[in-house]
Point group: C2
Chain length 197, copies 2
Amino acid sequence: MTTAKRKRVPRAERERQMIEVAERVFTERGYGAASMDEIAELVGVSKPMLYEYFHSKEGLLLACIRQSRAALREATEQATVGAVSAEDALRRGLLAFFVFIRERREAWSLLRHEMALIGTPAADEIEQTRRQQTDLIVAVMSEYFDDELRAEASAEFVVGACERLAIWCERFPDVTPEMATDYAMDMLWSGLSRRAR
Amino acid sequence: MTTAKRKRVPRAERERQMIEVAERVFTERGYGAASMDEIAELVGVSKPMLYEYFHSKEGLLLACIRQSRAALREATEQATVGAVSAEDALRRGLLAFFVFIRERREAWSLLRHEMALIGTPAADEIEQTRRQQTDLIVAVMSEYFDDELRAEASAEFVVGACERLAIWCERFPDVTPEMATDYAMDMLWSGLSRRAR
DNA sequence: AAGTCCATCCTACTTCGAGTAGGTTACTGG
DNA sequence: CCAGTAACCTACTCGAAGTAGGATGGACTT
């Protein structure tokens, strides 16, 4: 698969291989059921190497999550570059998000696992990676809010809402990213007042 | 503590004791770091009893989660009984939710752990317990939506948004349940359009 | 009052996986 | 060709999930 014979490989590349395999295994088996032995074997390396490079199972998951978050952030940020207004930026960002979770299944599945680290030493790190996402939204939201605290709260609100909506979408393959964006944008922009009888 | 000497106790009550202790231990240590041995010891019983009654560690967590979800559902449902409109019901439900997570720390902390079961056989059960929450919201939302799918999506949207907002609130003890409700209700009801320049 | 039956409960394992100690070999630069 | 180091390994320990198989309190019968 990888290369024919077990050869020596520089650290940077091994790390990439390890993360790639780990991402797959964590996604397939779930964090708890995944074993470091299995990951090591699939990489074609012995277990202590994993510990050498990531010091713990949590550390390995964290590395995977970091990468996936970075990819997500990259995708959503790129999407907003040509936006003509805050509303437009929001819509584009949402669409990019829903496209991402549809196309990059493993990455998204991994991000859903981050809650498995609650209560562990890695929890702070996780919050840090989430910040990447909320900061992006805060930047857009501050267009609408003078109150700093309220802007932050609203950003969390949006992120949580969309994550949950994304999970819901997985049960309905017919719901396109465009539809999801529409649902979300309609709620965020117009609110419920417009629908009141 | 419980009663002086290790006496025989009927199953129903033992289960209650076990869940009570487990809730505390899972919350304090986190799911992964909690040990069945420790829980058994704190209950004052041997480990096989836990397995007799809950068959696995996951099963025990699931039982705890079910109970906490039931309490949350009860609290939010009760809150909406005297509502004069859907808008009012929504606001009351939100307030009850934010009060709940402030007052019943362990229960809420436990619910945050449910993601730890993603990818395990218990995942379906978990989705089931979430339904209790979303169904309640769907009932309120259907006031606003003709489209059934959209109503469900919006309910998920609301639940996700509020859960995330609740997690955020934990970092700011000064943010009262009333403020959180206001933040959420403002977004949900008025939307962002009202704030556009 | 003694015997039967079962729900409650226990001790003493097995198994499996996270994490580690300590050594070995390939490549790299002089 | 000889360091020296970066990549790598075998062979463990240790702790926690889960189990086998048996013991015992006590309720109910006769």
